[in-house]
């Protein structure tokens, strides 16, 4: 659930209509007409990473900026396929256990080091080293990874414990960006502040709490195969600003102080849509949607009938619609539409049906009623605790509305939901303590349908680090997902992943609500060529150029 993200096919990048209008001065007035070359692009985002090296920790803001200075081995397309990037080609052994990557030649890191097989091996080693304190990249690899070794100057062999067909899409994320071994050897403190990659921009300075300054890498030769152009970026300089406040961020865009913003606030969507100078790009992450996870160690929730009753009673589409006013769609499946192998059959498996909910609860033995009208069994009230982060940055007002809607809907069928606002530290403690909560809200972004295995498997149940929020697993589901990871045949994968979606729907371990979305808002009268890549929804600025006369 860290904010890992990915989105769906966002293809149509900015339909950039160049509009005159607006009083703000053309930012590119002093730039030579007729070329895309030059200028400074200012991009504003909400959250500041704690470390610019995405191998450390593993939070979404790290990938968004890392995409600008790190290249990965492969790049992911919206249809889930991958294309060459730093790896020119690759071969996968019959049994799916050995991957040989052949690297592009002549690529250098910003510090002059050569990109070779040893450098890539050093990156895998850094990710696997506990001292790197990776909480995302490591999790993707650790269940599968055996070793990385260099076979020759430009060939790297990665060996796995068991087949893992999503490996290539996983490696496309900026979490797996390739860094200079010499830079990594400086240690975490320095590498966090000034990581060194092979990407289109170089990190020059990180002014904490304010911005990261990046400069164009004039020697850039390693753009991914799906880039809109090869060679160095168009803009000379990139300023990556942190504007946490929603009003300020959107205001900066409208006034032209920045060219594009990440995370257009939902409340500003209507204004942005009405403004001809602004275009938006939406990206549905490949993910387990934002969902209410039901803790099956609770005696009531261990009964599938009760879990299903909660879904029937919730009117989940109505909850989402009332909170997000149609800006976010409803999703009732275990994975989002942006996830490869999504099966639409399970979009809304348990429609709103109060009668059905009541019947199921009666069958489960919750037939008594107490003085407040709540259901009881053996004198115990059916009461469920739902702790949530009280910080509005973590639980935005619309999410709180969703939780309150849920509480009100369950009240109608006699189920008490106790909403418990808690501080971040308490919530962190609750994560690992199944006795401290009954329901929790969260999501998990990941570029593959294998994310179902991360959230709902015996293996993650046994790691006991709070990933398996429902504290539940099913042997058939585990086997289905392992089989899916072991095959590279797309038809077979579709079949297995559909089956997994079916099994998860049957279990009703969670109540999915809406897919995670990323929204870019772009001043299309000032800048052109920004697109979103699909592995984590990272904005790509290598192809961006400032508009001016003659373009």
């Amino acid at each position: 659930m860290r904010r890992r993200t990915v989105m769906t096919g966002l293809a149509a990048a900015g339909a950039g209509s160049v509009l005159a209008a607006c009083g703000s001065p053309a930012p590119a007035a002093e730039l030579p007409p007729g070329t895309r070359e030059g200028g400074e692009l200012i991009f504003a985002t909400d959250r500041e990473p704690t470390c610019l090296d995405p191998h450390n920790s593993g939070d979404m803001p790290q990938t968004y900026i890392a995409r600008q200075y790190l290249d990965s081995l492969v790049s992911m397309r919206p249809d889930g396929s991958v294309v060459p990037w730093l790896a020119e080609s690759w071969e996968i052994s019959e049994d799916g256990l050995v991957y040989d990557f052949t690297l592009k030649q002549g690529v250098r890191f910003h510090d002059g080091e050569v990109l070779d097989a040893d450098a890539v091996v050093a990156n895998f080693e850094q990710i696997m080293d506990p001292d790197t304190q990776s909480s995302t990249a490591l999790l993707y690899l650790s269940p599968y990874f055996v070793s990385a070794e260099s076979l020759s100057e430009h060939v790297v062999r990665v060996t796995l414990k068991r087949p893992y067909s999503p490996l290539l899409t996983v490696l496309a994320q900026a979490f797996f960006g390739i860094e200079s071994p010499a830079a990594m050897a400086r240690g975490l403190t320095e590498n966090c502040a000034l990581p060194v990659g092979t990407g289109p921009f170089k990190v020059v300075e990180w002014r904490r709490n304010q911005e990261v300054i990046l400069e164009r890498n004039d020697d850039y030769t390693s753009a991914p195969a799906d880039a809109q152009h090869q060679g160095p970026a168009y803009v000379r300089r990139l300023t990556w600003r942190f504007l946490k406040d929603n009003t300020a961020r959107f205001g900066a865009l409208r006034s032209g102080a920045v060219h594009a913003i990440f995370n257009l606030p939902p409340e500003s969507v209507p204004t942005a849509t009405a403004d001809e100078r602004i275009t938006t790009q939406d990206f549905v992450h490949s993910c387990v949607p934002y969902a209410l996870d039901l803790n099956t160690t609770h005696p009531a929730l261990s009964d599938r009938r009760v879990r299903r009753a909660l879904v029937h009673a919730a009117d989940a589409p109505g909850m989402v619609h009332s909170a997000y006013a149609g800006v976010f769609p409803y999703e009732g499946n275990a994975i989002s539409t942006g996830t490869p192998f999504y099966d639409e059959t399970f979009h809304q498996p348990y429609p709103y049906d109060e009668q059905r909910a009541n019947d199921l609860l009666d069958q489960a033995g919750w037939t008594g009623r107490d003085e407040d009208g709540y259901r009881t069994r053996d004198g115990q009230r059916l009461s469920l605790r739902l702790p949530y982060a009280s910080d509005p940055g973590e639980t935005p007002p619309a999410d709180l509305t969703i939780l309150q809607n849920f509480q009100a809907m369950q009240r109608r069928v006699g189920v008490e939901i106790r909403l418990l606002p808690v501080d971040a530290a308490t919530l962190t403690a609750i994560r690992r303590d199944p006795t401290a909560f009954d329901i929790r809200a969260g999501y998990w972004n990941s570029p593959t349908a294998g994310v179902m295995y991360i959230k709902f498997s015996q293996e993650t149940f046994e790691i006991d680090n709070g990933q398996n929020v429902s504290y539940a697993f099913d042997e058939e589901l585990d086997q289905t997902l392992l089989d899916a990871a072991a095959t590279t045949d797309p038809a077979r994968q579709q079949e297995l992943y559909s089956q997994a979606q079916q099994l998860l729907t049957d279990q009703a371990w969670h109540i999915p609500l809406y897919p995670i979305q990323t929204r870019l808002a772009i001043r299309s009268d000032l800048v052109e060529g920004i697109w979103i890549e699909p592995s984590e929804g990272e904005p790509v600025l290598h192809d961006a150029y400032l508009l001016r006369d003659g373009l």
């Binding site: 659930m1 860290r2 904010r3 009083g23 703000s24 704690t50 470390c51 920790s57 593993g58 939070d59 506990p130 001292d131 304190q133 990776s134 909480s135 995302t136 490591l138 999790l139 650790s142 975490l188 403190t189 966090c192 502040a193 002014r207 904490r208 709490n209 304010q210 600003r241 942190f242 504007l243 946490k244 406040d245 009003t247 300020a248 961020r249 205001g251 900066a252 409208r254 006034s255 102080a257 920045v258 982060a389 910080d391 973590e394 501080d423 971040a424 530290a425 308490t426 919530l427 962190t428 403690a429 609750i430 994560r431 690992r432 969260g442 790691i463 680090n465 709070g466 990933q467």
Partner: protein, 318 residues
């Protein structure tokens, strides 16, 4: 004016010692309070409630920061660091705390200084114009002060941002130069100005009844000159004493304002550090705020002496 060097040195020493004691107490309280907060700081360092670090990673973090040691040992190490002037390294930002605070304190001080200036300009302006006047003007001034003093920072900040910067575009939404200081400083300064004006007005109206006003007027001084030269001097005293407290409140207000206007500053840092249980950083910032309080109170004492000549004797002989 007759302060002897020995006396002055003793006063200075006492002040320093009590400041040191205060800072030690602040550090100790913050240290233990932070450890009362539930949750695992290692988990927090690795991304908080939304991350899923594996156990080995957590253990690497615990070992690196010494969370696996007994609390008293951690406290001892922490005090030893303080004595050396080493506030430690921020867990989340992976930089020395002194470097972070050093970098972020200047924008906050600029902001609070500008806000204090605005607050005083507003308070003096309102008082001179409306205090002690008859009829509507005085009532208008008094009501205006109440309204201004009641404005919450987060509301005023957003309104100024939207109206002045986004809609009218008179000022930049974000700007690192002096233009970017205007709106944040107004946001902080206006409510404090209203508050100071209330205090100043009361005192001003009391002073207007004093005999020296009548005698000054009878000597032929113009009413405006009397208000400005003599009455205001009396009226400003409680306000000045309150400014020391006001400076502290401005720093807490800066927490909100720095976020709204995306300014650098220790307010933003403090919020992030508390949420992330970044103990060294919380203590570092708390320290600086405590030090600013101490300094501000010394300064407001000095300012009082400056404005009220009578105090120069009594303090000198104290």
């Amino acid at each position: 004016m007759t302060t002897t060097p020995a006396l002055a040195a003793r006063r200075a020493l006492t002040t320093l010692a009590s400041a040191a004691l205060l800072l030690w107490a602040v550090a100790t309280i913050v240290f233990f309070l932070q450890h009362l907060v539930p949750g695992d700081p290692a988990q927090t360092i690795l991304g908080g409630a939304s991350a899923n670090p594996p156990e080995e990673t957590l253990e690497a973090v615990r070992a690196q920061y010494g969370f696996d040691q007994p609390l008293l040992v951690q406290y001892g190490n922490f005090l030893a660091g303080l004595v050396r002037g080493d506030l430690g390294e921020s867990y989340t930002m992976k930089q020395p705390v002194t470097a972070i605070v050093g970098e972020q304190i200047l924008p906050t001080l600029q902001l609070t200084a500008a806000s204090l200036l605005i607050a005083w300009a507003l308070a003096i302006g309102l008082t001179l114009l409306t205090a002690g006047r008859r009829g509507r003007l005085a009532r208008l001034g008094a009501s205006l002060e109440v309204v201004l003093a009641a404005l919450p920072h987060f509301w005023l900040g957003v309104v100024l941002l939207v109206v002045v910067a986004v809609v009218l575009q008179w000022l930049p939404v974000v700007d690192d130069g002096p233009a970017g200081l205007i709106l944040p400083a107004l946001t902080l300064g206006i409510p404090l100005g209203g508050f100071l004006a209330q205090v100043t007005r009361d005192e001003f109206e009391t002073a207007l009844q004093k005999p020296f006003v009548l005698s000054a007027l009878s000597r032929g001084a113009s009413p405006a000159a009397v208000r400005w030269r003599q009455v205001l001097r009396h009226a400003a005293l409680p306000g000045i004493a309150l400014s020391g407290w006001g400076l502290g409140s401005l720093i807490s207000g800066a927490v909100v304002v720095e976020v709204i206007f995306s300014r650098q500053g220790i307010g933003q840092i403090l919020v992030a550090a508390v949420t992330a249980q970044d103990l060294p950083l919380v203590i570092g910032v708390t320290f600086v705020v405590a030090a600013v309080y101490v300094l501000a109170n010394i300064l407001s004492d000095l300012a009082t002496v400056l404005v009220d000549p009578r105090l120069r004797h009594t303090i000198g002989h104290a």
